[in-house]
Symmetry: C2
Subunit: 266 residues, 2 copies
């Protein structure tokens, strides 16, 4: 087990919030829950998605939970600061949730399955919380979807450090491509998965800054110390990879990455 977990360190907080800002429309644009519906956000972390979720479904009643009490407190602060009043927070384990079966109309789970050893079991557990006909929406990235110009072996190796660290912690940084079999395997019906590709070149300066530099490359940089400690890379090689990732943010560079969003029905 690695001690490296997304979202629990303060630099990670900033990164996750930048990411949420840049990618809001891409990821959330087609998610709005009806007035009066009850929504469980399973694994809200520090609230990076919660603010958007709550703002886009102002008449829905959202319950956001996370295993970390510290994260829940941070998320609650964020939501309160945004003037939103339709979210109730609770510290809870989504693998052993303190809710009765069929308690919610909808479940929303974003950047969480990637950290779980058995995502199908988690999806089944969350599915049991849904009323019949209720929906689950899952969003995940996939680090194997990252490619760029100029291409670079060192950059790919640095990304692979993140993939390996996440795998060593029981997770899967390549999970986006698997959403369809995971959701169908967990028994959901009418599963529909759609890719949300981020393509960045110099004609899109907001994404150069907000995605290539401050989201993706910053995330890879964030794994430097644990990856060195784990002995899966050396400093020179890792730093060359990060330099090459920043290189793709220059005027003649391009960067591609894809998130996947899946919706299924109980």
């Amino acid at each position: 087990m690695s001690s490296y977990v997304h979202g629990y360190h303060s630099r990670e907080h900033e990164r996750l919030q930048d990411q949420a800002g840049t990618l809001v429309e891409l990821l959330h644009g087609d998610t709005a829950y009806p007035a009066g519906s009850t929504v469980l956000e399973a694994g809200c972390g520090v609230g990076a998605q919660t603010v958007t979720l709550a703002a886009r479904s102002p008449q829905a009643r959202i319950t956001s939970v996370d295993l970390s009490a510290e994260s829940v407190a941070e998320a609650e602060r964020l939501v309160t600061d945004a003037g939103l009043t339709n979210v109730e927070f609770r510290q809870a384990d989504i693998l052993d949730p303190p809710f009765a079966p069929a308690s919610f109309d909808h479940v929303f789970v974003c950047f969480v399955l990637e950290h779980l050893t058995d995502p199908v079991a988690a999806l089944r557990t969350l599915g049991d919380l849904l009323k019949p006909g209720g929906t689950i929406t899952a969003i995940e990235g996939d680090h194997g979807s990252a490619y760029f110009h100029p291409d670079s072996d060192a950059a790919r190796a640095a990304i692979n450090c993140q993939v390996e660290m996440q795998a060593a912690a029981g997770g899967n940084a390549l999970i986006g491509r698997e959403l369809y079999p995971l959701l169908t395997g967990a028994g959901f019906d009418a599963v529909h998965v759609s890719p949300r590709m981020v393509y960045v070149d110099a004609s899109r300066p907001d994404l150069v800054e907000g995605f290539t530099r401050r989201t993706f490359t910053a995330m890879i940089e964030g794994v430097r110390e644990p990856a060195l400690a784990a002995g899966i890379t050396d400093a020179a090689r890792f730093d060359a990879g990060v330099r090459d990732l920043y290189r793709t943010a220059e005027a003649d560079g391009t960067f591609s990455y894809t998130f996947f969003k899946g919706v299924g029905r109980r």
Copy 2:
């Protein structure tokens, strides 16, 4: 130099035409040229794109050229059989085109730059054929954009045989991601590149058949003999890779691939 070239063998004909059928809307949906405008299709091959191009811009006057007289004849047959009358064909080298400068309102070039040793020089040459304010539209795939579930080292190695064979022939099978720097580097203005991602899972049976099996995997299979002859793989390893690509077309598999479309202005 390898003797392997896309589009000149009859199995390749079928593949390219399946590909065109499945992907028409994705690639051509936003290309229609005005009545009376003159359009050069540079490198029409066997006409896989020509029929669509001509049908979607019925009032434009299209000139389609290819280096291979045999391909031009095949393309002309295809267009005639489709009842289209707005295309003129000509055998010509797009690197040394038999047209006066500023002869065309628009240039369309699809799956051609990937085969050229100096795509920027080719784009400059084509740009010279444009009237001021005219546009160039370039479409290319990128084999590094292919990823799938279940993931497979052997499948990635088989794809890499195609990438290596194309590189040995002076081309670049990873060119899609480079369209932006290529077009800007060739002096075009207002360059806009957009990715066209094909995502396939079992809920999209037409794409499972038409793209994963009959387009992408068939293309990789097509490189088997030249790759074995070149000694860059062995039969067992290559065949395992192809098997694993077909495996991604099963009920729990997924497949992703991205084309890039770039438009620039002279």
